[in-house]
């Protein structure tokens, strides 16, 4: 047993002895800072590598760097197949997002506002495609299309992406609806607005940021999707499928160039979605 006296003595001494001070920082904080910096570096090293080598003249990605060039960008943007694939990807992503919104918003509303048999089952089912490996969604839909005799094409890819990514819209919009103060809808009805008008003028503007944010995320994910596309695409290639087929054959800095562009665009999309979803951008400043 330790007496009170002993405990007090130890308390007085312990902090000084346990932590060496290094210029105002104790060792644990310093270690932690270094570790955090290393992890961040680890996360960004490959991305930076990709970007740097997209400007490096040497066709083999190795150090030391040789000379600065835009050659790989010119080559990438002169590549017909690549451009077609890019076009396909943009079409797929846009159509998939449209599906996500048309299906996702009503689903979220139904989950938020109504009680119906199978509601819990639906909630589980809807998020399956983002919890299960993408491959399972891919092969199950492949089987489905094969059995129903549907030809694989960009359309099947779009349906596949629509199915896999609607969950993003559902979960985001549902979360926003749950936080949503239903009394402002009552206030609108009280002030004479019929239900549809209330939905357009009151409900929609207040869940808008969740809708835009999740659309951007869904777009980015669709643009980058492989596991589902891999099984559902016909003769047409999307950009990731094209890149996939190229890098399996060998490496070319052309991929670095197109990768850098994709990263740039993705980051812009992501940052805007974060910005919109956090609502920090939505008219916080008082208007004059």
């Amino acid at each position: 047993m330790t007496t009170y006296e002993e405990v007090r003595v130890r308390e007085r001494v312990e902090p000084r002895q346990m932590f060496l001070k290094l210029g105002g920082w104790d060792v644990s904080t310093a270690t932690l800072t270094v570790a955090a910096a290393c992890v961040l570096a680890f996360l960004y090293l490959p991305i930076v590598t990709l970007m740097v080598f997209s400007f490096n003249a040497n066709p083999i990605t190795r150090l030391p760097l040789t000379e600065w060039t835009f050659f790989w960008y010119e080559k990438a943007f002169g590549n017909e197949i690549l451009l077609t694939a890019l076009g396909n990807s943009l079409i797929v992503a846009s159509c998939a997002v449209t599906i996500c919104l048309c299906i996702g918003i009503p689903t979220a509303l139904a989950l938020d506002r109504y009680d119906f048999p199978g509601k819990t089952a639906l909630r589980r089912l809807v998020i399956l495609p983002i919890t299960l490996p993408g491959l399972i969604t891919g092969v199950s839909m492949l089987t489905f299309f094969k059995m129903t005799g549907v030809q694989l094409s960009l359309a099947t890819v779009i349906i596949g992406h629509g199915t896999a990514l609607t969950a993003i819209v559902v979960t985001n919009v549902f979360a926003r609806l749950q936080r949503f103060d239903r009394r402002i809808e009552e206030a609108s009805a009280d002030l004479g607005a019929k239900p549809l008008r209330t939905f357009w003028h009151i409900t929609l503007p207040n869940i808008r940021s969740a809708i835009i944010g999740s659309s951007l995320i869904a777009f980015t994910l669709s643009f980058d999707e492989i596991p589902v596309t891999y099984f559902l695409t016909g003769r047409d290639n999307t950009l990731p499928m094209y890149i996939w087929s190229t890098i399996r054959r060998g490496m070319t800095p052309e991929i670095n160039a197109i990768g850098t562009v994709i990263i740039g665009v993705s980051i812009v999309l992501l940052l805007s979605s974060v910005f919109i979803m956090s609502d920090s951008g939505v008219r916080k400043r008082p208007r004059k």
Partner: protein, 374 residues
């Protein structure tokens, strides 16, 4: 007087609870009526059924002679000021106010004029372009008021209008709302759990308890003649003491409390001799007799010892031990020099004088204790 709203036998159940239980009520044109009660007593549900936000299981809501029981809110000429105001967060103050008339299709020029008039009325013309998130709670409340009033409703419903305001602002707004009510001549139906608010503002008060109406009346009626111990206890502070009936003669009932007797005006009640009854004695109706002061012959006299003092600013509450289970709390005014000089110290023996007519007798004995008298 004309009844603008009548509700007949309204009942509403939610899963597991009867929120409103067979409530009937008439609201007169132009009055300020308050529904008062603790949370869960059914007052808000009743208000929401008048507004059309809930539909009753049974019963009817009549507005200006028309049955509106099943009409949705957007088809009723009543408007609501919501608890926490429910301003549209994405619309500016002027758009919030304009919303109701815009929906109604008012011409642009007239709408602008009307909104300006409303902004003038609530004294916030410089906030027209601000979003609700940039307003203080007091300002939000005024915007909510203007938003409801621009539709010129026949009845304005106010759901806990003061709950979001701090104590100081609450008092100011109570007076402002009352003035506004007088100015507009509009019917106000207010819901609150704050008894002071109800007493200060209302023409009539409906006290509700567990989905039923306990009593309806003017604030003075309710205060002086509470129908049940529940009402007596809920409105103002009171001594609720249990006494034993020793004699019933004519208009007077004599009871025994502690070592003394208390005579009470019968007011039509006839409790059996020997039964227990509950007496409601308001602290301010009890006088302390100092230095052999006299009181009318018909008044009750009780002797006791001052046990504790509780300072309340303009007055002090004294807890008196009269040799019974519960002590009696009385109010002693400190607003005059005499009053201050005459404050008896703790431990002193004093005599009390109580008018028998100021005591309310209940034949039912309930559990309402003396906890919040001080």
């Amino acid at each position: 007087m004309v009844n603008i709203v009548e509700i007949h036998n309204l009942t509403k159940t939610f899963p597991g609870v009867v929120a409103v239980d067979n409530v009937s009520l008439e609201i007169r044109e132009g009055e300020l009526m308050t529904m008062l009660g603790p949370s869960g007593c059914g007052k808000t549900t009743t208000l929401r059924m008048i507004g059309g936000f809930e539909f009753p299981d049974t019963g009817r809501v009549i507005l200006e002679g028309e049955d509106v029981t099943r009409l949705p809110p957007y088809k009723r000429r009543v408007n609501m000021m919501f608890q926490d105001f429910a301003l549209f967060p994405h619309l500016t103050v002027e758009k919030n106010i304009a919303y109701g008339m815009r929906v109604a299709g008012m011409a642009k020029a007239e709408l602008v004029r009307e909104v300006a008039r409303m902004l003038e009325m609530i004294e916030l013309p410089d906030k027209a372009k601000n979003l609700p998130s940039e307003l203080s709670n007091g300002q939000k409340q005024r915007v909510a008021l203007a938003r409801a009033l621009i539709r010129r409703p026949r009845v304005l419903l106010l759901d806990e209008p003061m709950s979001a305001l701090d104590a100081k602002l609450r008092e100011t707004m109570q007076v402002e709302l009352k003035h506004l009510h007088e100015k507009l001549g509009l019917t106000f139906v207010l819901v609150t759990h704050d008894q002071t608010e109800a007493l200060v503002m209302s023409d009539r008060v409906v006290v509700m308890d567990e989905g039923r109406i306990a009593q309806v009346g003017t604030p003075i009626e309710l205060y002086d003649n509470p129908a049940t111990p529940y009402v007596a206890n809920f409105l103002g502070t009171s001594n609720m003491v249990v006494a034993k009936v020793t004699e019933v003669s004519g208009e007077t009932i004599v009871t025994e409390y502690g070592s003394g007797t208390i005579r009470v005006a019968a007011q039509g009640k006839r409790p059996a001799v020997g039964s227990e009854v509950m007496l409601c004695i308001r602290p301010e109706k009890v006088r302390v007799l100092l230095n052999g002061q006299d009181s009318p012959e018909s008044f009750n006299r009780l002797d006791g010892v001052i046990a504790e003092q509780f300072f309340h600013g303009a007055s002090v509450h004294l807890a008196l031990d009269v040799g019974a289970a519960t002590s009696i709390v009385i109010q002693h005014q400190l607003d005059t020099a005499e009053g201050q000089a005459a404050l008896p110290p703790a431990g002193q023996r004093v005599s009390l004088s109580i008018d028998p007519a100021s005591i309310t007798l209940f034949e039912e004995v309930t559990a309402y204790g003396a906890e919040d008298r001080v």
